[in-house]
């Protein structure tokens, strides 16, 4: 039994999966408030499934909201410590791509687009289910150019100027079951992509 968690973006997505089967799930767009809700939601999903301790945990490591990533990862790591079960990571872009490929079996190329905040978008290309490049943070015009001529998926897709949108669905934790074993066995540490907005101030005095 795999506990799957995602708090990377506006969704709060938690599921218990048994192989390909979703045993219990909570998948709601909440925008904010992940820190308050995530553990009560895990408790609810576990109770509905009648599961006391899962066999392992997999958590969305991003990219996404820096705060959201930390909330999910801190929760997953501490649950793993308390239960004595392994904790792994999975990428938000892989989740979105896996769902899009599953819905469009004829599609062999797509780009995943996520809102990166600060007026930017995260973009990653996929081919035949596999990543075909790194995740990059781009301005909307650059992202539109980078996605020209290919289908796009992800909640950031509508922010492109002109695109063939396969899906604008948010990452769903339960889609961990669609990932390759390697894609859901990453180190559970945040995938920030962008460096912190910290500059060495000369003599900033407020």
């Amino acid at each position: 039994m795999l506990l799957c968690m995602d708090t990377a973006l506006a969704g709060l997505s938690v599921a218990l999966c048994d192989g390909d089967r979703i045993v219990a799930e909570h998948h709601v767009l909440i925008g904010r408030g992940h820190a308050e809700s995530v553990i009560p939601v895990v408790a609810d999903v576990m109770a509905r499934a009648g599961v006391d301790v899962p066999d392992a945990i997999v958590v969305d490591i991003g990219p996404g909201s820096f705060t959201g990533l930390r909330i999910g990862i801190a929760a997953a790591r501490a649950l793993g410590l308390a239960w004595g079960v392994p904790v792994h990571g999975m990428r938000a872009t892989d989740l979105v791509a896996a769902a899009a490929f599953a819905d469009a079996p004829d599609c062999d190329r797509l780009a995943v687009v996520l809102d990166a905040g600060r007026g930017q978008l995260y973009v990653q290309h996929f081919e035949r289910g596999q990543p075909a490049g790194d995740i990059v943070a781009l301005s909307p015009p650059d992202a539109t150019r980078a996605c020209a001529g290919i289908a796009v998926a992800g909640p950031g897709a509508p922010m492109l100027g002109d695109a063939r949108i396969l899906s604008d669905a948010w990452p769903r934790a339960a889609d961990a079951r669609l990932l390759t074993p390697a894609a859901r066995a990453l180190t559970p540490t945040p995938l920030y992509v962008r460096a912190p907005d910290a500059v060495a101030p000369a003599m900033l005095l407020s």
């Binding site: 820190a35 809700s37 553990i39 895990v42 790591r77 501490a78 308390a82 912190p196 060495a200």
Partner: protein
């Protein structure tokens, strides 16, 4: 065996975990400072702090349990700072505590960081009874509180602009003394002449009970800009003069507060700035003059740590004051919600 509390602190730039018993035994603890990460920026960068907390916290919980030879199942409750502080770090600590609390089926205690400081003297001194007058001085706060009991605090004074610790950090930056600023200024002040510069003592000898340090900081900035010689003796003199001015302000306001709290059984100081020995010595003299015991926790308990959070958890658990898994992380969280708003930025807490 008395209750065993696991405490977590991550509200600023220290990641800390502690195991403390209700009988005041500190079973194990660890504190990881992030000074190295923040030093290039001359102050704490919230995003860098949050990144460091999430990397370090769970391994630290594991290490502290292992060091004590204790299983999570043997802990009686989980306490974490839930605010006030840098919200990214607070969330990491609180969510970690909630996850441990849920998975190990232990009560959660969402602790006000200021309450951790306010009650920490009772961890250090088993004889300290309520009510006492507390001067809470740190990088984010400068308050005089009547501590009437656990969860019962009356704010008698607060800062209308900068906290005392903030002023120390900024003066260290102005004088190029290094980071963190408190110890750097104190070190420099030891060799300096406190009468070398004539600096203002904001609000001194006024009836307004509050603190103000912004004008003092600006005066240091102006004095340093005008100083013909910027070598070490000169910066030491200015550091010493600044520290003497802060001591005068703190002691004057503390005397005023003691006058309106005749029921106080002790004068207590807590918070990171209480690590400053010039400030401690001056406060001790006031206590002696008022015929009261002076209580200052050991230096390690004055700076941010998790033992004080675990201890506040033990005090609250004993009264049944436990929290739900939906407890909210708060960037601002005054200890005395009924405290009147004061002019300036003092409404922060």
């Amino acid at each position: 065996m008395s209750a065993l509390i696991l405490g977590i602190e991550s509200s600023c730039d220290e990641t800390a975990v502690a195991l403390v018993r209700a009988d005041r035994t500190i079973v194990a603890q660890a504190v990881a400072s992030q000074d190295a990460e923040h030093r290039p920026f001359g102050g704490v960068v919230p995003e860098l702090a949050a990144r460091a907390h999430v990397e370090r916290l769970t391994p630290m919980v594991e290490a502290v349990l292992a060091q004590a030879g204790i299983k999570l199942a043997d802990v009686d409750a989980i306490a974490s700072t839930a605010g006030p502080g840098l919200i990214g770090g607070v969330m990491v600590g609180l969510v970690t505590a909630k996850a441990l609390s849920f998975a190990a089926n232990k009560p959660l205690l969402a602790i006000n960081h200021l309450e951790g400081h306010a009650l920490s003297p009772r961890l250090a001194d088993s004889g300290l009874q309520f009510p006492y007058l507390l001067l809470l001085v740190s990088g984010g706060h400068c308050q005089l509180l009547a501590v009437d009991g656990v969860g019962r605090y009356r704010r008698l004074a607060t800062t209308i602009d900068d906290a005392a610790g903030e002023a120390f950090d900024k003066v260290a930056k102005i004088l190029g003394l290094g980071f963190p600023g408190g110890p750097a200024v104190e070190r420099a002040a030891k060799t300096g002449n406190p009468f070398a510069y004539k600096l203002p003592r904001p609000l001194l000898n006024t009836d307004e009970p509050h603190f103000s340090f912004a004008g003092l900081k600006s005066a240091v900035l102006r004095a340093w800009a005008a100083a013909p010689d910027k070598s070490l003796p000169a910066s030491a003199d200015l550091a010493a003069s600044f520290q003497a001015a802060v001591v005068d302000c703190l002691t004057d306001r503390t005397r005023l507060a003691l006058a309106v709290m005749p029921e106080a059984t002790a004068l207590v100081v807590a918070g990171g700035v209480a690590a400053n020995s010039a400030i401690r010595d001056a406060l001790r003299s006031i206590a002696v003059g008022a015929g009261l015991p002076f209580v200052a926790p050991p230096l390690w308990l004055c700076t941010d740590n998790a033992a004080m959070i675990a201890w506040a958890g033990a005090e609250r658990l004993a009264l049944g004051l436990v929290d739900g898994l939906d407890a909210v992380a708060r960037p601002r969280w005054p200890l005395d919600p009924d405290g009147e708003a004061v002019r300036g930025a003092g409404v922060k807490a």
